[in-house]
Subunit: 378 residues, 2 copies
């Protein structure tokens, strides 16, 4: 398997990013991803019950369309908590893209990130659709990456290629995060494009597994977004024998795991105000879910996160967070190994003496920078 | 009902506070509460499964003793995550007090607050027990209040008196908090003394109800302590007809509710680094538990708390926190009323359009001050 930290679009995919004026700064804020031939799609969305309008529309289109050809994404406005008008706006933007590309309306997905509760100015979007479409290119992915950013300080991209059977299969993933799951300014979005030929069932299953071990294992502030999306598009241009099970599926899954994990870690590294990247390994658990629950409880402890910021090796805060996770555990069963807190990478290992399963969770420290960013944002 | 924000001990109670050297600053750090006649006791402890040694010993004594006569409390060290030696230390300190007061060992309760995971220096405590006991007095409660403080910036005390039947019944409550439920430096402790004569069953039930509406309705950082304790001692010196049910119990309960709620609010007002006191009213819920769960989810949202600190009326963060609480709710059902964020008191009202129950939760904003205190503490 070959990994590169630069986005290289697989065959058949094009992308572009433009500035349509949703961001006051005038920076890029409208991205388009396009695939010809039409691609198989699989997606995971936020489980927040307050869900943004574009996700409602995208879910509907994913259900009704056999394939997906385009994904429109804007930053600067989440189009969430905007009522029926918000849903109509999301549908209209799909229609603009469909008309310009001469494709079916339901083959367009839409995503938004930015402030919640403000009406999306779709006139600004509409006006820029022709330029967005005419500028689509194989090298346009870097523009698209920038256009989906909010408080991100660097763009997040990765490419992976591997042999499946006799053919080379390629993956390209981009993401935006910043405050991770910060509902209004830092929705987590991830788009993965691959030229693999794969069955819908195998694609869905692989994505489920990959997300569970990556994006579901990171936390910055414990706040769940209304717009979180991870989408994978597979357009089959690699010409491989269709993947459905066995070794082919295993290889595909490993590559998708790697793409998701690399992007998830970048999201944590770019967390709002973070000065440290923290890896939490919980082992000797009964099962993966138990290990992850304990690890996330530590990752979401404001006291643990401030202790790491202060380079204060306070293992008592770890013990208290484990005990508060709902796990019935004795003090004598708990083994805590908190390495040096100097430097930018911090590792914590927690043993539960209950079983053989483990989970790794990534998080960041809690700093005055996080508070400054989130207190001043509007 | 008469309320005073000064602690006045009911008949039969005495208290004292001394400095034994557990706090590096040399401030008061050892408190003793004493009742003669022996008092009926009821207590609520943390539900964290990592539980401090003094709580293990106190629970045991509460089970085996018919009445309680003394409560020893130290600050500066939580005696938690200290293994079997910690339990022996807690038992030894009970024994020192029992010997000096010439009372049964299991009629002494013990509590600790301070850093987790460090051995308690009981030689320092032992040496000061004679002075602590000989100095017990009716006016010693103010010293005891100071001796249980950690990062608290003011002492928390309240007295309430009311007529029950022909007799006046008095309550005196003291508490310490600061970071509330901050496991190592800011355990929440509350001690309530009353001269009421009451059955054990009625006392337990009243405390359960009072705590549910007060200490279980506040949150500063969502971190659960290993040492949290709310204890009520009732010594019966008021000479009232024993309270077991009906109007007498209702009056007693109202007074206990008031004592707990006043102290709980003081804990939030003195939260680490806080600049705002936030009241969250969630109404139109199916039941109290649902309303409180939603309110606590908002209270624990780092994004909401930083928005309040920044006086940034970002109701989208409230909507996202409600949606993340696990409640299945439509956007159109949710009514959010976020008042002015200027000033020290902030009020948020959330309607769920689901029923008639409501709950009120108190919290504070999340500030650089909180991070500074918790990053530097050790």
């Amino acid at each position: 398997m070959k990994k590169s930290l630069k986005a290289i679009l697989p065959d058949g995919f094009k992308a572009n990013g433009v500035a349509c004026g949703l961001k006051k700064s005038g920076k890029l804020d409208l991205a388009l991803l396009y695939s010809n031939p039409p691609a198989l799609a699989s997606a995971k969305f936020t489980t927040n019950s307050i869900i943004a309008a574009p996700l409602i529309v995208s879910k509907k289109n994913l259900k009704s369309a056999k394939n997906i050809q385009a994904v429109l994404v804007n930053s600067g406005n989440a189009n969430c908590f905007t009522g029926k008008a918000g849903i109509r706006d999301a549908e209209l933007t799909c229609a603009y893209v469909a008309r310009e590309l001469k494709i079916a309306k339901n083959s367009v997905l839409v995503d938004s990130t930015g402030i919640i509760g403000k009406k999306l100015d779709i006139a600004k979007i509409k006006q820029k659709i022709p330029e967005l479409v005419s500028g689509l290119s194989c090298s346009g992915i870097q523009g698209a990456e920038k256009a989906i950013m909010t408080t991100d300080t660097f763009s997040k991209e990765v490419s992976v290629s591997l042999k499946i059977g006799a053919k080379t299969v390629n993956f390209c993933g981009i993401a935006k995060g910043a405050g991770m799951i910060a509902p209004d300014m830092a929705t987590m979005l991830c788009f993965i494009m691959t030229d693999a030929k794969i069955t819908k069932r195998a694609l869905d299953k692989s994505l489920e597994i990959a997300v569970d071990k990556s994006f579901n294992c990171i936390s910055v502030d414990g706040c769940m977004s209304t717009n979180d999306t991870v989408l994978v598009l597979a357009n089959g241009t690699a010409g491989n024998k269709i993947i459905s099970e066995g070794k082919g599926l295993q290889d595909f899954s490993e590559a998708l795991d790697l793409v998701c994990l690399e992007l998830a870690k970048m999201v944590v590294k770019d967390a709002e105000g973070a000065t440290k990247f923290i890896q939490i390994d919980v082992c000797q658990a009964k099962d993966f879910q138990e290990a992850r629950r304990v690890a996330l409880n530590i990752a979401n402890s404001a006291l643990f996160k401030t202790a790491v910021f202060g380079e204060n090796p306070n293992f008592g805060r770890v013990a208290a967070a484990v005990g508060a996770s709902g796990l019935k555990i004795q003090e004598s069963q708990l083994k805590i190994n908190l390495g040096s807190l100097k430097g930018k990478q911090v590792k914590l290992t927690v043993g539960l003496s209950r079983g053989k399963a483990s989970a790794t969770v990534y998080t960041s420290d809690l700093t005055p920078g996080y508070i400054k960013i989130n207190a001043e944002y509007n």
